[in-house]
Symmetry: D2
Subunit: 337 residues, 4 copies
């Protein structure tokens, strides 16, 4: 950490700061310049509250030079983490496709879609039971019943299931869910993250609409700090000024996250683009960039989906995409160790 002092800092305050850092086991190296004095802080600065220092009268600016995350940091854990979801491995060379409808609507629907996506090669089933909707007047999901139907589909197909949690109070319903999804809007629901850190169940953590990659990793850190290291990161598009697509898929997030962290990284092209015609090209791009998996919306009848219809693929289009993915995968980018 670098602390840049204002011109002519008050001597007494500077001594107090130096002593306080010293007490925390941080050593301070001072560089005196013409217009500024710079303090180089050496030691474990990840637990220093940057705001505390920035608040001091003598301080002009503070710059971090070390990532503030530890458990999620590849520097401390060079090897890829492999997350096991009901026997299906993600990461460390294991590529998986999670597929299913936006919302669970009925037993027929979820079981039909589950069978179709399994036949095309998907290895995990997704489906929304609790649905975050911008409007209180939109369909909010089948809730408890939705989870029950997912479990039924899992029983029929053997596919482990992934579904979103919206509130801590729902946690009791997720015993038979194989992987709990934290949605974009909940990426910084810190109370939820802490509680999920006490589980020993894989978590699919989606990037917030306007969250930086560092913030995403700090949210993973919340879960991991509780002891749960089974976290899969998911890029699902960020909010920008461009309105043609629902969000802007940040494709660089894939190699960046894999450089900074040992956690698996998957991509959600359905939510990133919001248009089914854009799912195949962006899904292939994610594979090429080195993603460890994809999560894709598939519906047997997109025209009648209760939500997010415009971005869902038909089973037939999904099958075609899976064949393209299989063909391209051997030529995807591989990170150098």
């Amino acid at each position: 950490m670098i602390v840049i002092l204002k011109q002519n800092p008050d001597k007494a305050q500077l001594d107090m700061l130096t002593k306080w850092l010293d007490d925390m086991g941080i050593s301070v190296h001072t560089t005196v310049g013409h217009l500024q004095t710079i303090l180089g802080l050496v030691g474990d600065t990840s637990k220093i509250d940057i705001d505390l220092i920035q608040a001091l009268d003598i301080v002009e600016d503070v710059k971090r030079v070390q990532e503030p995350f530890k458990n999620a940091n590849r520097k401390f854990h060079p090897d890829d983490t492999v997350v096991d979801v009901g026997g299906v491995k993600i990461g460390g060379g294991n590529f998986q496709v999670i597929a299913g409808p936006c919302s669970v609507e009925s037993e027929e629907q979820i079981c039909a879609v589950a069978k179709a996506v399994k036949a095309s090669g998907a290895t995990l089933l997704r489906g929304g039971a609790f649905k975050p909707r911008t409007s209180p007047y939109s369909f909010q999901g089948l809730r408890e019943d939705g989870i029950r139907l997912l479990v039924e589909a899992k029983r029929e197909t053997g596919l482990p299931i992934v579904t979103e949690i919206m509130d801590l109070s729902q946690l009791g319903l997720y015993d038979d869910v194989d992987m709990i999804q934290v949605g974009a809007r909940n990426m910084q629901n810190f109370e939820l993250l802490k509680e999920l850190g006490h589980l020993r169940k894989p978590i699919l953590l989606k990037r917030g609409l306007s969250s930086t990659l560092e913030e995403l990793l700090m949210s993973a850190e919340y879960i991991m700090a509780g002891g749960n290291e089974q976290v899969v990161l998911c890029e699902r598009g960020i909010r920008t000024f461009e309105t043609y697509t629902r969000n802007t898929l940040d494709i660089s997030a894939v190699p960046v996250l894999k450089d900074l962290s040992h956690l698996p990284v998957i991509v959600d092209p359905s939510h990133a683009t919001g248009k089914h015609s854009l799912v195949p090209p962006t899904a292939l791009a994610a594979v090429a960039a080195g993603a460890d998996g994809l999560i894709i919306e598939v519906h047997n009848d997109p025209a009648h989906a209760l939500c997010d219809g415009p971005q869902s693929l038909t089973p037939k289009n999904f099958e075609r995409l899976m064949r393209s993915i299989d063909a391209l995968r051997p030529y995807a980018y591989e990170r150098e160790a």
Copy 2:
């Protein structure tokens, strides 16, 4: 609502759509152009799921022409709503300043700050008990104890109190809290919003970092749909590419929200800018633009605040700002009815 059809739409699908809309009490007016056919939908379209229509094969695009919020909409409630917080009125010409520390740290601290801000003219006390922090290693607030200390400060000064809730499970602790704050990161925590809709207590709803004004109003709608109409909207800066300030204060949000809605609108210049030196000019700007109030961080010793120090004012600077606000207020913008 306007539905733009693709060229040569399938007749059977078009008939199905028209019938479905008809069943919902919506009448359809058709305009046939050279390249496109346009359907004008007339009736109460606020409950139509736009995604459902967009998913149809024959549809190229759907455009809403009516705001999707009703309870929060000024068109249906032309008069300003006045929110009463423990006897203190906000909105409809009533201007209030909410002040206090970022975090409650101790009884001495919160009571000293409470007395100071009251003496300068603040009419409501704020203070964080549960603190959303990006890092799990940062101070997370005194939690239950923090609320207890706020209630103590209220007993000593008579100031009604405002504090943030981070999770539904904490709701039982808020009985003596006069106004519950929903933070930016929780603006789309829909389960929380629904539950707050069942209370009869004022809610301070902060705009999310990357939420549109329409989304903010839809979140207010979630609360109001449950029957709780005591909602105060708060602009607190949005996330943009500019990094000099912590966020970008969207000053236009004040007149826009007051045009679109009858709810009171306040501004948080402390979080919007992240720098105490920028609080006075932006606070005065918010008053000039017609805000119904301000929420400002004040700390008796900013250099030792446990969080958000850089953006807090000293009581002395707060006093000076309050005098400037008093002087400027009579010349602020007034919306024409």
Copy 3:
């Protein structure tokens, strides 16, 4: 075009508007709703000034339903345009890699890089002669001399050359340049675009840092309206809140632009990411998404490049990337006609 009127519009003004539209050959279909009246405008609305209508007292909002670009629009020109740059074809199934240094620095440098990239399979040579730099104190390019050296490198290697123009006054120097690049900062330099429209030379048009895809196509339209149809579009990253990468590569831009327009689309992974280690994964992603080409910075000695060093590949890394591209290309996304 859809015009939404305010409640109870003034009859005389409405008649005036209808007559004015009628005179322009636009027919108007009216839908009267409870809260709003909607006018559907049918005819060639691309030349109607949307601002003019929006300014009318009786108008609440105007929504376009037709793209405002014509020459660049795939609806009117379904077949892919193939741009010929000194005998090298881009688009319509022809994939090309443009490579070379950020800045031309010396004859040795540009010729050495040209030979190296040609040996690896690049078919066009890039190199900056006039350099847009944020700071007046940074190296501004060799200017006239830079172009002279590029022409020399073309003579030695046979590679057609691509270089950026920064101002109309430089146009006389570009006679021997095969393709003129309009940089991101000049994407809306309309006087420059108009003049380039009078040439019969290929133009490489880069998307502005915060330009929408529609604005990019409107800038292409400026060039094409002058009669020059040889335009190649280039996605090079947009400005967002994320600061880890220099810009955010909008990978969806590739399929979206190819859907909306018949012009070739290439990607610049070097400027989009700003880090050479991110160039290979994002370049492969662009190929997978269906791009018609890439423009990549290559330097023989990145550590001594006079500008943009951090994002340049060494010839050795470029060679390795070209082999990966060759392997992946057959499995890239192909747009359905």
Copy 4:
């Protein structure tokens, strides 16, 4: 400037770097940490090319601790600059309103508006002769004739005139123009900025749609480096995800720019909001925040303006706004020296 080295940097490269810096008169202070070595660079680092250092293999990151602008920097010129435009002073306590139509349309129009705004208290006349329009099919301004008409309006009213230049080739036409405006899209047209630096005429420099405040100051630096110190900065709204307003007025830009620089700062509420009803509240906000002036669009007949009608005030509304500004001005924020 701070240079953060990778773990175990190559000794030879490090020596080379240190020597190179030494030769430039920069002294280097080294702090060796467990995971990183940090170099503190002391001396005049404003002319060091940050990219050059970042490109070195041994370097992980470079952080600037000093602003890269000098002539525009308040640290080196503590006193406010006062810009004189044809006898009208802006800055250093002098507040001015520039008003006029978006486009000059006819002699009657420009003279009528000029007289009206002068009568209401505007001291400078604006009007577009060359108009940057997104579409080649929109009205492009009266060009040479527009400037002639502006000069005529100046002759009739005595108001100095301000108008935009779009290309260097037009410079010869601006002899009788009192202040040349550089529009948002040209803020980084560096060739134009350099040339304007050789003039001795005031320049109104508008912030680019997605330019940071530092970039705006660097563009001012381009002009000032040429010797022209008469630069007025203008905040006119930035591009964000919010679509309700045309742009997002960054009100904090006013106090930030005035802290960082000695140049006058004005605000353009018309382009920032794009809606005439939002001009009065945001104009008052800008005054309250301490702006040195405003630039406001006024049209005698907004319904027939040839461009940008929706954001123009009528002379009557402008008169009302000027009275509100006069009343509020004495209570605006004043920067402490």
